[in-house]
C-alpha cells in the first residue's frame, strides 16, 4: 500500500429511488491534511457525510480507516472511530458554561460525582496546545460566535477525535475571525489531525486546504491540489460552467426618501442593554441600502423594530414622509412594506400550511381572496399560487397543495420572495435573503432584488455575507453593537476595511 489514508470512502454509491445522491464517489483523506469538500447545495455533500456518520448505508462502496475496512452503522460507530464534526449550527447548551459543554456526555466521574477539576486541566491543556482561546467558566450565551466555535472544536479534541469535519465553519465569522480559524486549522494539522473542510467559499479553500474534492449533482468531479489550481477552475468544476460572480446592475438612481428612521432604540430580549441604540438612516427610492455586520449586532432587532414585531423604546419611523411609528404590522404591510424575514421557519412560513396558503399569507384578507361573508375564495388563491409558482420557479412535490414543511430550503425561500415581491412593495426589507441557498438560487434572488430597485423601489438589505453586501448594494451601513459605525460606497471599499468596522476596531460618524 503506497499511501496511508486516515479515512477513505471508496466508490460510494447511495441511491434513493429516482435520484442517485452519491454516484461512485471516492474521497480519500490523508493523515494530517486539510481536505476541502466543495459543491453546491444538493451536490451530495450532506449525503456523503451522512454515510460517513452512519446515518445512511451506501449501496456500493466501502469505508476504510487506516487501510482497514470498517462498518459504520450509526453515529456512535463514527464516534468510536474518532470522527468528529463541527456543525454549521452549533450544538451547544446556551445556559451551560464552556467547560460543561465540552465535557457533556463524557464527563469524568468518580462514584457518580463529577470530576470537573480533571476535565478543566485537560481542556486548558488542549486550549493551550492548539491556540484555542476560550474562557471555560463563561456561559455559552455570553460568548462570541467565534468562541462558541472554538468550544465546538475543543469538544472534538476532548473526545480525542482524529478526523475533524468542519461544516461551513466560516459562515458566521468576521474576516478577522476567519483568519484566526484558519490558523487554528493549520495548528490542528500540524498536530497530525486530519481535517475535512466543507465549504463553498472558494477563497478560503484556496487559502487553507491542501487538496480539494469537488462534487456536482451527486457525481465526483475530481480532486485537485490547491496549489496547482485557481478559483476560476474550482468554480467551473463546482458549477459545471463559468459563473458570473458579479451581479449585473446599472448605477443606482436614488429618488425621494421612502424610509426614514430617526433615533430608533430597541430593547434586547437577551440582555439588559438595548440591542439597537439610537439608529437613524434613510433609504431612497431606487436604491439598495445594505446593513452589514456580524450576526447579533442588532440587525435583527432593528428589522423587528422597523416591521413592528418588537416595540420601540424610542425613535420614529417615517414612510414617505408619514409617521408610521405607531402603525400596526398589517397597516404597514398594506401601505407598501414587504419583509423577507431572517428566519423563514420562525416568521416567514406556516410550515404546516400548504404552499398556496403560505403564498397568500400577506394578502389573504383582501377582497380578492376573502369574500364579503368571510369565506376564503379558494379558486382565486389557487390561481394566484399557480401564477407565482410558475413565475418564480418554486419547485415542490405536489404544486400548490404541497405542505411547506416538505419543501427544500431554497424553494421555501423562493416562495417567501415570491409572496413579498408580488405585493409590489414600495419598500422591500430583505434580511439574509440568500441564506443557505445554492449559487443558482442566489443569482436568481439577487436579480429580483436589483429588479425591484430598478423599478424605483427602496430596498433595505441586511446581510452577513460580505460578498453579497459588496455585490448587491448601492450603499453600505455597518452595524456594530446596535449602532451604525460606518457608511461606505461598495465600489470604494474592501472586505478588509468593512471587517475592521464590523469587528468594532474602527468607527466613523454617520449622518442619516
Amino acid at each position: 500500500m503506497a499511501e496511508q489514508y486516515a479515512i477513505e470512502m471508496l466508490n460510494i454509491t447511495k441511491r434513493f429511488p429516482g435520484i442517485i445522491a452519491n454516484d461512485n464517489i471516492t474521497l480519500q483523506l490523508r493523515r494530517g491534511e486539510i481536505h476541502a469538500l466543495l459543491g453546491e447545495n444538493g451536490a451530495g455533500k450532506s449525503t456523503l457525510m451522512s454515510v460517513l456518520f452512519g446515518l445512511y448505508q451506501p449501496e456500493e462502496g466501502e469505508i476504510k480507516k487506516d487501510g482497514k475496512v470498517v462498518q459504520i452503522r450509526d453515529p456512535n460507530d463514527a464516534n468510536d472511530l474518532g470522527i468528529g464534526m463541527v456543525h454549521q449550527h452549533f450544538k451547544l447548551v446556551e445556559c451551560f458554561t464552556v467547560l460543561d459543554n465540552i465535557i457533556m456526555g463524557v464527563e469524568p466521574t468518580k462514584a457518580g460525582f463529577l470530576q470537573k477539576k480533571e476535565a478543566r486541566q485537560k481542556v486548558l491543556a488542549l486550549s493551550e496546545k492548539y491556540g484555542l482561546k476560550v474562557d471555560p467558566d463563561a456561559l455559552v450565551e455570553d460568548i462570541t460566535v467565534g468562541m462558541q466555535q472554538r468550544t465546538e472544536i475543543l469538544k472534538m479534541l476532548y473526545r480525542e477525535n482524529e478526523i475533524l469535519i468542519f461544516d461551513e465553519p466560516t459562515a458566521v465569522l468576521t474576516p478577522q475571525e476567519i483568519t484566526e480559524l484558519m490558523q487554528i486549522m493549520r495548528n490542528l494539522k500540524a498536530e497530525g489531525k486530519s481535517i475535512l473542510f466543507i465549504s463553498h467559499k472558494l477563497a478560503e479553500i484556496m487559502a487553507v486546504a491542501d487538496r480539494c474534492s469537488v462534487l456536482r449533482k451527486g457525481k465526483y468531479i475530481g480532486t485537485v491540489d490547491t496549489d496547482k489550481t485557481s478559483i476560476e477552475e474550482l468554480s467551473a468544476m463546482m458549477v459545471g460552467r463559468n459563473v458570473n460572480f458579479h451581479v449585473e446592475k446599472k448605477p443606482a438612481e436614488p429618488g425621494d426618501v421612502i424610509l426614514e428612521v430617526d433615533g430608533m432604540t430597541v430593547a434586547s430580549k437577551v440582555h439588559k442593554n438595548n440591542a439597537v441604540k439610537n439608529v437613524s438612516l434613510k433609504v431612497h427610492a431606487g436604491e439598495i441600502v445594505c446593513i452589514a455586520g456580524i450576526d447579533g449586532n442588532g440587525q435583527s432587532e432593528f428589522v423587528y423594530g422597523l416591521s413592528g414585531l418588537e416595540p420601540l423604546v424610542s425613535g420614529r419611523i417615517l414612510f414617505k414622509g408619514e409617521d408610521v411609528t405607531k402603525a400596526s404590522i398589517r397597516q404597514k404591510s398594506v401601505m407598501g412594506f414587504s419583509h423577507i424575514p431572517e428566519d423563514r421557519h420562525k416568521h416567514g412560513l406556516v410550515l404546516d400550511y400548504s404552499l398556496e396558503d403560505n403564498l397568500v399569507l400577506q394578502t389573504y384578507f383582501q377582497p380578492e381572496y376573502t369574500n364579503k361573508f368571510g369565506f376564503l375564495r379558494r379558486d382565486n388563491i389557487r390561481k394566484k399560487a399557480d401564477e407565482l409558482i410558475e413565475k418564480f420557479d418554486v419547485r415542490s412535490g405536489q404544486g400548490a397543495v404541497t405542505s411547506a414543511r416538505s419543501m427544500s430550503g431554497g424553494n421555501q425561500q423562493k416562495a417567501i420572495v415570491a409572496r413579498e415581491l408580488d405585493k409590489d412593495p414600495e419598500l422591500l426589507i430583505a434580511v439574509q435573503p440568500t441564506r443557505g441557498l445554492d449559487v443558482g438560487a442566489i443569482e436568481f434572488i439577487h436579480k429580483q432584488i436589483v429588479a425591484q430597485r430598478d423599478a424605483g423601489k427602496a430596498v433595505l438589505l441586511v446581510s452577513l455575507e460580505l460578498d453579497e453586501v459588496l455585490d448587491v448594494s448601492d450603499r453600505i451601513l455597518v452595524m456594530y453593537e446596535g449602532e451604525i459605525v460606518g457608511q461606505f460606497d461598495p465600489k470604494k471599499t474592501t472586505q478588509e476595511e468593512l471587517g475592521l468596522y464590523m469587528a468594532g476596531a474602527k468607527r466613523m460618524e454617520v449622518q442619516a
Partner: protein
C-alpha cells in the same frame, strides 16, 4: 403490483386516513387492556363483561327498548360533542382549554337557574348558558393574552371556582330533601328543549330533543369555519406558528381570546343541551367538576382533531361509558364499569402519539426514497 403499492402508500399519507387508523388502533388497544384487567379480577366473566361494554343498548332484548337506550346514548353524546368541539376549537389556535369543564359547569349553572328560578323559556336559557360559558372562556383568554398566564393553570383554577359558585347558586333551586336541583320538567316545562317529535323515533324517549341534531349541525359549522373562512385561516395560522401570524399582521392576541370565547360558548351550550333535557339533575353537594369537559379532551383526540370525526368519537365514548353499566355486578365490583371506560378513554389520548409515530415512519421512508436529508434534519437529528 408496484402501482398498487404506491396507491396504498398514498392513502396512508393522507391525514384523515392516518387519524382514522390511529383512532381505531387506540380503541382496540383500550378494549384489549380492559379485557386484561377483567381477566385478572375474574377470568370467567371477562369476555362477557367486555362484550357487554361494547354492546351497550344491544344488551337489552327487543328493538323498542334498544331504541330507547340508543336514544339515551345520543342524549349524552350531544353535550360531550359540544365539549369536544370546544376543546378542538381552542386547540387549533394552539391552546389547551382544560377549563372546558368549568365553562360547561357555568353553562349548567345559568341554564338551570334561569329555568328553575325565573322560569325562562328554553331559548333564553340556552342563550344565557352560551353567554356564561363564553365569559368564562374569555377570562382565561384575557389572562393568557395580556398577563401571560398559562391557560391550563388558569383554566383548572377557574374550574373549581365555578364549581363551588355553581353549588352555592343552585342550592337556591334544589329539592328540600335531597341535594339535587328541582326537576325542570315539573317546575318549568317551558324550559325543556323541544323534541319536535324526535323522541317518538326512539320509542318515546322524552329526553331526545333538538339538542342531538343541533350538536351535529354545530360540528359541521365548526368544520366550515375552520376550513373555509378567513377567520379559520387566521386561527389555524396562529395555532401552527404564532410568530408567522404576528409577522403577517394577524392580531394573535385577539385571535386567542376569540377562540377561547367561542370555545367557552360551545361548552356552555353543551351543558344547556344536557340539563335542559331533564335527563339529569345537578347535585349541589358535588365536589368534582363534571367529567364531560375532560372526556371532551379524549373525544377530541380520538376524533383525530376533526370536527366530523369528533361526532363519532363522542358517540363511541358515551357508548362504552353507558355500556359499562351493564357489566355483571355479581362478578365485578360496581366501579369496574368506570374503570373499563376510563382505560379506553385514557388510551384514546394516545391517538396523536400514534399518528405522529405513523407520520415519522412514513417520512423516514420518504427520506430514504428521495434522499432529502433536509427534512430529516428538521427533526433535530
Amino acid at each position: 403490483m408496484k402501482n398498487k403499492d404506491s396507491k396504498f402508500a398514498n392513502i396512508m399519507k393522507t391525514d384523515g386516513m392516518q387519524s382514522l387508523i390511529s383512532s381505531l388502533i387506540c380503541i382496540v388497544l383500550g378494549l384489549f387492556l380492559g379485557y386484561i384487567v377483567l381477566l385478572f379480577i375474574n377470568p370467567t366473566g371477562a369476555f362477557k363483561a367486555i362484550t357487554d361494554v361494547m354492546k351497550n343498548f344491544f344488551y337489552y332484548k327487543g328493538s323498542t327498548i334498544r331504541l330507547k337506550y340508543f336514544g339515551n346514548t345520543l342524549v349524552k353524546t350531544a353535550p360531550l360533542l359540544m365539549c369536544a368541539l370546544s376543546i378542538l376549537f381552542s386547540y387549533k389556535v394552539g391552546l389547551f382549554n382544560i377549563g372546558c369543564s368549568g365553562q360547561y359547569t357555568a353553562g349548567a349553572c345559568t341554564a338551570l337557574y334561569a329555568a328553575l328560578k325565573w322560569n325562562w323559556g328554553w331559548f333564553p336559557c340556552l342563550v344565557l348558558a352560551i353567554a356564561m360559558g363564553a365569559l368564562a372562556g374569555t377570562l382565561v383568554g384575557v389572562l393568557k393574552s395580556y398577563c401571560n398566564v398559562n391557560e391550563v393553570i388558569s383554566g383548572i383554577m377557574l374550574n373549581w371556582i365555578i364549581l363551588y359558585g355553581t353549588n352555592t347558586i343552585l342550592t337556591n333551586v334544589k329539592e328540600l330533601a335531597s341535594p339535587y336541583t328541582l326537576l325542570v320538567k315539573k317546575y318549568s316545562p317551558q324550559s325543556i328543549l323541544p323534541s319536535l317529535g324526535l323522541g317518538k323515533l326512539f320509542s318515546n324517549n322524552q329526553y331526545v330533543t333538538i339538542a342531538v341534531p343541533l350538536s351535529i349541525l354545530i360540528a359541521v359549522a365548526v368544520m366550515i369555519v375552520l376550513n373555509k373562512t378567513k377567520f379559520g385561516y387566521e386561527l389555524k395560522a396562529t395555532g401552527f406558528n404564532k410568530n408567522a401570524a404576528k409577522y403577517c399582521g394577524m392580531k394573535e392576541k385577539r385571535n386567542m381570546i376569540l377562540s377561547l370565547l367561542i370555545s367557552g360558548a360551545l361548552a356552555g351550550l353543551g351543558a344547556a343541551f344536557f340539563y335542559l333535557t331533564g335527563y339529569e339533575q345537578w347535585e349541589c353537594t358535588t365536589s368534582t367538576v363534571p367529567g364531560m369537559g375532560f372526556n371532551g379532551i379524549a373525544a377530541t383526540f380520538l376524533g383525530g382533531l376533526n370536527p366530523i370525526g369528533t361526532i363519532f368519537s363522542s358517540f363511541f365514548i358515551q357508548h362504552i361509558t353507558i355500556g359499562g353499566a351493564n357489566v355483571d355486578k355479581t362478578m365485578y365490583c360496581s366501579q369496574i364499569s368506570d374503570l373499563i371506560s376510563a382505560l379506553i378513554i385514557y388510551l384514546c389520548g394516545f391517538v396523536l402519539f400514534l399518528k405522529t409515530f405513523m407520520k415519522n415512519v412514513i417520512r423516514k421512508r420518504e427520506v430514504k426514497r428521495t434522499g432529502k436529508y433536509e427534512n430529516f434534519k428538521q427533526d433535530g437529528r
